[in-house]
């Protein structure tokens, strides 16, 4: 077992229904009182290939996925070939009688005897659920909700029969798998991924408009908003390209609808002129950028933290921005909410920078508390009246924002350098004042930066630094080292820009060695720390093979 938790993997081809049963199993575990952490590894294809859906579960909250499997559900031969070497001692493997297990001790499931071929994945679900001692009725109901069908429906009945046969069969098997006992009286919990949490946070923040062009791993952000659009009064459009998406969002935002675009690296590349337009026209804009490995099309469905500097520098010219880097699904909700508020207040682009690992990672969470939250109210500030000037020069750089058509004032927004009213100017002295005015907003943005979170001893021998999705793996790696008696602390940045050295530099100096851990090859954040805070990390641990960081990966690198 992995640290009081259990780690199970379902592996097979795309099209075998493994994501469906994975989600049902995960949801059933949540309902039974477990915390979960799902990682999905899939190939960029709709049929075939090799995909996995891994669930780590525990009665306690989990920080990170881990390596080593306790239960492997192999829907095809390739799963055995690839993952047999990852089995922990005492692990159980479920495989079709037709698959050759070689040296691996397998529980051979007679799938074809238990149900029709079409229900192979349901049988796998039934056997796995039974081994994990889950309530069969709960699993059946969860499956029915997932397929969107009611009791009495033919498909539902056949699924139920398959589940029952599977669990009867499983009951007669010897296996020795001992799942940890669930929490006794669990709270009601949601099951959510990073993308969904960003969408829900943005909706709570007052999102009214989303435009996007489909791109893995970001698409589910838009799809989640769209699923609730009618209820929440949101307008949406799948644009003809990312350039259109960002310009639509800017048009909508200018006209008073808090707006978001979601994309990945390639799409963001197309959006950058629009990001710059947001900076110049001072139009609030939220960009949810879910990273995948590049360059170019790269590995479309895998993970990487390789676009930090691109998020920071994308868009020509100089203008203020903020980059939020949530480290967990819960933080994704907070980032979605906060990004809308920051964008509106500072009238400038705000990024939510995640990656495929976090975007697709499902967790169990108590429903978010909405008390104390308020949706964004676009527009406002300054006195109204005849001499309204959209870009009035103010001390903090924030000019009063009016909405076109909602009052007598005319709202003039311009991508050319402009005067305070908004009209084109080539007065170079005024240009300097307008540029200064826009950049003055950085001061307020800096004052609102979420400080990085330190855990562990004040002057640790080793300080492990992370940003974004690396938080969990780093936290667990540090905990394991601490258990071995080492002096290790962690520091996680859930906002990487602006970077305010006063919030962390002192404590960095007290550490014996600073190790920056991030999912890229060149140490982008390590470089940023050097440039902005004069901090030279002693070590950098990077990962860029398309897979997420794990505690084990970090520990191996630290030891080498």
């Amino acid at each position: 077992m992995s640290q009081g938790s259990m780690n199970l993997m379902i592996g097979g081809e795309a099209g075998q229904g493994l994501v469906t049963i994975g989600q049902v199993l995960a949801k059933a575990l949540v309902k039974s009182g477990y915390h979960i952490l799902v990682t999905q590894d899939y190939m960029s294809r709709v049929r075939g290939g090799h995909n996995t859906f891994t669930i780590r579960f525990s009665p306690q909250d989990l920080d990170s996925p881990c390596e080593g499997l306790d239960l492997l559900v192999a829907l095809n031969q390739e799963t055995l070939a690839r993952h047999a070497k990852e089995l922990n001692a005492g692990a159980v493997v479920l495989a079709d009688t037709g698959l050759s297990c070689g040296q691996t001790p397998c529980l051979n499931v007679p799938y074809e005897d238990l149900a029709d071929k079409r229900y192979l994945n349901t049988v796998a679900l039934g056997v796995a659920a039974s081994l994990l001692k889950l309530d069969l009725e709960l699993v059946a109901q969860t499956l029915e909700t997932a397929i969107g069908k009611k009791k009495g429906d033919k498909v539902v009945e056949e699924n139920r029969q398959a589940l029952e046969k599977a669990s009867q069969w499983a009951a007669g098997q010897e296996h020795g798998l001992k799942p940890p006992a669930p929490e006794k009286e669990p709270d009601k919990r949601m099951m959510l991924g990073g993308n969904q949490a960003i969408a829900l946070g943005a909706l709570a923040g007052g999102l009214k408009f989303v435009a996007f062009y489909p791109m893995t791993p970001s698409t589910a952000i838009a799809l989640t908003v769209i699923a609730h659009a009618e209820q929440m009064g949101v307008v949406y459009e799948q644009a003809e390209d990312e350039i259109a998406a960002v310009n639509m969002a800017l048009g909508a935002s200018y006209a008073g609808a808090p707006a978001l675009v979601c994309t990945s690296g390639g799409g963001y590349a197309l959006m950058t002129e629009g990001v710059s337009l947001a900076g110049m026209t001072e139009t609030p804009l939220v960009i949810a950028l879910a990273m995948r490995p590049g360059p170019a099309t790269g590995l479309p469905t895998r993970t990487e933290q390789g676009d930090l500097l691109f998020a920071l520098h994308g868009g020509h010219g100089e203008f203020p921005r903020a980059i939020l880097t949530p480290g967990s699904v819960k933080q994704c909700f907070a980032a979605g909410y906060r990004a809308l508020h920051l964008a509106e207040k500072y009238q400038t682009p705000v990024f939510i920078l995640t990656d495929q690992f976090l975007a697709d990672s499902l967790r169990a969470l108590t429903p978010f508390d909405l008390s104390g939250l308020t949706p964004v109210r676009p527009g406002g500030g300054g006195a109204s009246g005849g001499d309204y000037r959209r870009y009035a020069i103010t001390g903090d750089g924030i000019s009063p924002r009016r909405l076109p058509g909602m009052g007598p004032e005319l709202v003039i927004a311009d991508s050319d350098e402009h005067d305070q009213e908004g009209h084109i100017t080539e007065d170079l002295e005024l240009r300097v004042r307008m540029n200064d005015k826009r950049l003055a907003k950085q001061k307020g943005l800096r004052a609102e930066v979420e400080p990085p979170v330190f855990v562990g001893p004040e002057a640790a021998d080793t300080l492990l630094v992370s940003w974004g999705s690396s938080q969990g793996p780093v936290a667990e790696a540090a905990r394991r080292l601490g258990e071995e008696g080492q002096s290790v602390a962690t520091c996680h940045f859930s906002q990487v820009w602006p970077l305010v050295p006063d919030q962390f530099a002192e404590r960095f100096k007290k550490a014996g060695q600073v190790v920056v851990i991030e999912g890229n090859a060149t140490g982008q954040f390590a470089g940023l720390l050097r440039k902005e805070a004069g901090i030279q990390a002693q070590r950098f641990i990077g990962r860029y093979d398309g897979l997420n960081l794990t505690p084990e990966y970090i520990l191996r690198q630290l030891a080498s």
């Binding site: 259109a244 639509m248 935002s253 200018y254 006209a255 076109p404 909602m406």
Partner: protein, 286 residues
């Protein structure tokens, strides 16, 4: 209170004396006043180019965005505030070149916008390179052996896509053009007015005189039923010795905006976010 032409103000412009843009501005203001639309009720969205400077030269709400991107920005604004009268004013390069994909998508999408394309068949602001509508054989410094690409025909493309209102105007016929713009503003879906616009500085081929000799008005001895798609298609290809101006094609396909019930309730900015509903949304993930 009736809106007066004077409400739109007087501005110094950066256009060359004699440019067709002056007449387009005049026709636009006349159409707005006659439609009783006050400056604060309208939003002019433009890209970058000489034509795209138009919103700075009349009193209005203005979003002067990026080269080629007026249509998506206008789409977003209209979908955020259905009460705004949204008009795009940009050139042929902006609309059909840099923004070509947006033009095609806008024709399909049919948002309730009026698109005024100042079509001078040249890139004015960048000093005279060929545009997508430049005629074959036109020589420029960038096309020293002449334009070899076949000219884009925005009117024919729009008609072929069954756009609800397609017209061609001429900057040299201000009254006629104002009438077309007025009808376009009244159309409850995408309306395209492609406007032949002499560029005195760079287009030495399609001059004022060149257009004057060729254009003829539909409906004045040249009867045409804009509901007749086959006839409209034929007319849209007439661009040579004779060029028809007027309304080429109309239909009443419902606008994209009409599919969002939330837009019946007015601007999105005035609608409260319901946290009661939000709680239910969160609950659905349990």
């Amino acid at each position: 209170m009736m809106v007066d032409i004077k409400d739109y103000g007087d501005f110094e412009t950066a256009w060359c004396p004699g440019c067709g843009n002056f007449s387009i501005r005049k026709a636009l203001i006349q159409a707005l006043a006659e439609s009783d639309l006050a400056p604060h009720q309208i939003l002019l969205v433009s890209g970058i180019g000489q034509a795209a400077k138009t919103p700075h030269y009349l009193r209005c709400n203005c979003f002067n965005g990026l080269h080629g991107r007026s249509l998506p920005a206008a789409t977003g604004a209209k979908l955020a505030n259905p009460e705004l009268k949204v008009i795009t004013t940009s050139g042929d390069g902006c609309n059909y070149g840099e923004g070509g994909n947006h033009f095609l998508a806008a024709l399909r999408r049919n948002v309730n916008l009026t698109m005024l394309a100042h079509d001078n068949q040249i890139y004015g602001l960048t000093k005279g390179q060929a545009s997508p509508t430049s005629m074959e054989g036109m020589h420029t410094k960038a096309q020293p052996t002449g334009v070899h690409s076949y000219p884009f025909n925005p009117v024919a493309v729009a008609v072929s896509m069954h756009v609800g209102f397609v017209a061609r105007g001429f900057a040299g016929e201000v009254e006629h053009l104002a009438g077309l713009i007025k009808q376009a503003l009244a159309h409850p879906g995408l309306s395209l007015v492609d406007i032949l616009q002499p560029c005195v500085s760079f287009n030495k081929l399609n001059t004022f005189q060149w257009y004057k000799e060729r254009v003829y008005k539909l409906g004045e001895g040249a009867e045409h039923d804009p509901a007749d798609w086959d006839a409209a298609i034929r007319l849209s290809y007439e661009f040579g010795d004779r060029i028809p101006i007027g309304v080429i094609y109309t239909n009443d396909r419902p606008a994209f905006d009409s599919y969002f019930p939330v837009l019946n309730k007015g601007p999105l900015a005035t609608q409260e976010v319901d946290y009661g509903v939000m709680e239910k949304v969160l609950e659905s993930y349990c």
